[in-house]
Subunit: 156 residues, 2 copies
DNA sequence: ATATTATTGAGAATGATACTCAATTACATC
DNA sequence: GATGTAATTGAGTATCATTCTCAATAATAT
């Protein structure tokens, strides 16, 4: 398994694109970022590294990072696109607490099986899926005094 | 089951908000809209109805429509939020063709079961979920000569 | 070393959505 | 039906993330 830098360099070469210092610094930045991040987070991390790659270049580089399989768009939150590193990580889905904003990652084998089943039925070839569950995390349930009533909708 | 208008009127009254002609015209517009739509689509439908509700009012009304359970945010496409009517409809998920953009709706009971299971494990209380599958629809598979290899990732 | 072509930064442009504010209106109460 | 009050409206402006433009620079192949 190649390192992030090597993988990116290889990807660029494949497409006759150039491996510039700016692109290297961006790779260094995303490697350091944890969890979910947006373009601005990458830009701030670059500042921390004393790099002065422009925000425009960050935006220009994101599609390359996505195409090279290093990161992927995962969540839309408050009109922002969030990314996360996916190279060398197993895929997972998300639960988002609508009270505190906490993001919980989970992996479930059955989701993949279900996807296969559904795609087969509709003659669809999937390249990816995203399952997002919104609701309340344990802490917020306690805080807000929400009672657990599994998936039963309250009548109104 | 109340009509869209009655449901909205009731919702507004509950909150001491006013049922204005503009809001009524917006309701009439969304009732006529099919499938997935955005704020601009509502605005255009209003124009067709010879209503001159402003776009600002459309944006202001959308959260009310969401809170009243008449529509819901369903997909993010090209940085736009898409909505769809959900009142009196059973919930479903989506497959989106990344070639032609076609949206296929599907309902699968097991998705709900899976959600319960996952939420139970993580002590999470779900209010909603969204499963989106991206890939290629039948027509585009044929057009692009894509072979079906269910969910096996090609090695690279 | 040179030529070619991609890349960069800066700033302007875009486009969806939100805000501001004065004028208007819905509705509860009289 | 008239009145008061708070909600609502349209128009225009503001915001904010993202994309584009363009001239200057730099990475690679030869």
């Amino acid at each position: 398994m190649l390192s992030y830098k090597e993988r990116f360099k290889y990807f660029l070469k494949e497409r006759d694109l150039k491996y510039t210092p700016e692109r290297e610094e961006i790779i260094e930045a995303i490697v350091k970022l944890q969890k979910h991040f947006d373009a601005e987070d990458i830009y701030q991390q670059l500042r921390k590294q004393k790099s002065d790659v422009s925000l425009a270049t960050v935006y220009r580089t994101i599609p390359l990072l996505v195409d090279s399989g290093l990161i992927m768009e995962t969540l839309h939150c408050r009109e922002k696109v969030l990314y996360e590193k996916i190279y060398n990580k197993r895929r997972h889905d998300h639960m988002v607490c609508i009270n505190c904003g906490k993001i919980i990652e989970f992996y479930n084998e059955d989701v993949e099986k279900l996807q296969d089943e559904i795609c087969h039925k509709y003659q669809f070839v999937a390249t990816e899926h995203r399952l997002g569950i919104k609701g309340y995390c344990k802490e917020c349930q306690d805080k807000l005094n929400i009672k657990v009533t599994h998936s039963k909708k309250e009548k109104n």
